[in-house]
């Protein structure tokens, strides 16, 4: 197996190719360059990015690049399957609660406890996308943050590009896209990190393909205005979601869906989130609550290594 490691989009990127061919080494720099181009289009932390340019010009139709258009479609899709709970129109809400810069920069500058006095509107209007002219217009008071959608799209896209070469797994900061079984027909072993203990895993999944994503409030947390804040915004009130779920891990047919489902579950909380996930077909989930309780469905259990051993 060959692995390619680099940093992009504020995360560690790992690409694992199940092959002995040395020729895949040439793919490392090529994929890294692609990630760089995607980040330059999609990052809200880069002042010269296409996204930042759009955010600075509400009310003005902007032509979208191919990459930007694809991620807008992915964001639309995430919004549709989540009933509007996963939306990119939450940037002002994030800024309102202090998340106005890259998280590492915030920590370095302020520590985990910092105060800010910012005034940003919370627009909730629908973003106007005209697919015929390939343009997007932001309403006043709204800014976009693609967040996990951009990272999920990037991992999914990289996986699609590399799957012709060999069975491949692409991990973009914990969101994982898998092309299919490994060469010998076995599944990919993927650990599920324990949010209470980073050195240990909660479970070992044997994933045949599709996407695995974890969303939660265990990492991006800070104190603002005397209250604990996190980065998962509930668009119903444009505040950090009031939820008892610490992390939600979801297995789905593809990474984009898995990411949207996981975030939706976190926003909804354990009761409503579990009911909502149970109505989906072919989706496995593990919810870790703040009190340490774990809730998982049958599909998740059947994907775990222990279960597969017993059934084989």
């Amino acid at each position: 197996m060959k692995t390619i490691l680099f940093n992009a989009m504020g995360s560690k990127i790992l690409i694992a190719l199940d092959t002995d061919e040395q020729a895949v080494m040439a793919e490392g720099p090529r994929i890294q360059q692609l990630f760089e181009e995607w980040e330059q289009a999609l990052s809200r932390f880069r002042i010269s990015s296409e996204l930042s340019e759009l955010n600075r010009h509400p009310g003005v139709p902007k032509e979208m690049s191919r990459v930007f258009g694809e991620v807008m479609r992915a964001a639309d899709h995430a919004s549709e399957i989540s009933g509007g709970l996963v939306t990119p129109t939450i940037l002002n809400a994030l800024i309102n609660v202090g998340y106005e810069n890259d998280f590492d920069v915030l920590l370095e500058r302020h520590g985990k406890d910092f105060e800010q006095a910012l005034l940003a509107p919370n627009g909730t209007e629908t973003v106007d996308v005209d697919w015929k002219t390939n343009t997007v217009t932001l309403p006043f008071g709204t800014q976009l943050d693609f967040g996990g959608v951009a990272k999920g799209w990037a991992a999914h896209n990289a996986m699609q590009l590399l799957r012709e070469i060999a069975p491949v797994l692409v991990d973009a900061g914990g969101d994982i896209a898998v092309s299919g079984n490994m060469r010998d027909g076995s599944n990919w072993p993927i650990g599920v990190s324990n949010p209470f203990d980073a050195d240990n895993n909660l479970a070992l999944l044997m994933v045949p393909g599709g996407g695995v994503a974890t969303s939660g409030k265990d990492y991006h947390r800070w104190v603002f205005d005397g209250e604990m804040q996190h980065h998962i915004i509930d668009p119903r009130n444009m505040l950090p979601a009031h939820t008892d779920i610490l992390t939600a891990t979801v297995l789905a047919a593809n990474l984009l869906d898995a990411e949207a489902y996981a975030k939706t579950a976190v926003i909804l909380g354990s009761d409503a989130g579990k009911k909502w996930l149970d109505e989906l077909s072919a989706v496995g989930y593990l919810l870790v609550l703040e009190n340490g309780t774990m809730i998982r469905n049958d599909i998740f259990v059947k994907t775990e290594w222990n279960t597969q051993c017993q059934t084989n």
Binding site: M1, K2, T3, I4, L5, F6, N7, G10, S11, K12, L14, A16, V24, G28, P29, I31, Q32, Q33, E36, E39, Q40, R46, I47, D104, L169, D171, G173, G174, D175, I176, W188, P189, I190, G191, V192, S193, N194, P195, F196, D197, N200, N201, L202, L204, L205, V212, A213, T214, S215, G216, Y219, H220, T247, T249, N291, G292, T293, M294, W305, N306
Partner: protein, 128 residues
């Protein structure tokens, strides 16, 4: 009485041969330097390939032969320190599970010792 005639200088080696020797020596020196320079460049890259996030300078060493600069060119001046791709062979092995089971928190027991080592982990965020 000896005649004081001008002595002709003896030529042991023809001039053409001297030229050949000089040219050969120069070519050898340049060639060896070039090989050494390439080796140093390759080794420097190889060391850095295992250090994600480390900036690698790919300026060629002084040599008469042009070097091929590898790696992506980072076009944006907005980017932070460019990360460097690391490519390596890995084998999925079986590892000894050493984690103690957590009780009372509802957290599941760790997989037994014969479980394959995960290729990677899913989690909320993985920072560089």
């Amino acid at each position: 009485m000896e005649k004081n005639t001008p002595r002709k200088k003896k030529k042991f080696v023809p001039t053409a041969f001297k030229f050949m020797l000089a040219a050969g020596s120069l070519a050898g020196t340049v060639g060896v330097w070039n090989i050494l320079a390439r080796q140093e460049f390759t080794q420097a890259n190889a060391q850095n390939l295992n250090l994600p996030g480390t900036f690698v300078s790919t300026d060629p060493l002084p040599t008469v032969a042009s070097l091929i600069v590898v790696g992506p060119s980072v076009a944006s001046n907005q980017s932070s320190t460019p990360a460097v791709a690391a490519i390596r062979d890995v084998t999925v092995t079986t590892v000894q599970q050493t984690a103690a089971p957590q009780s009372g928190s509802g957290i599941s027991l760790p997989p037994p010792s014969s479980a394959p080592a995960p290729v990677t982990n899913t989690q909320t965020s993985k920072k560089p």
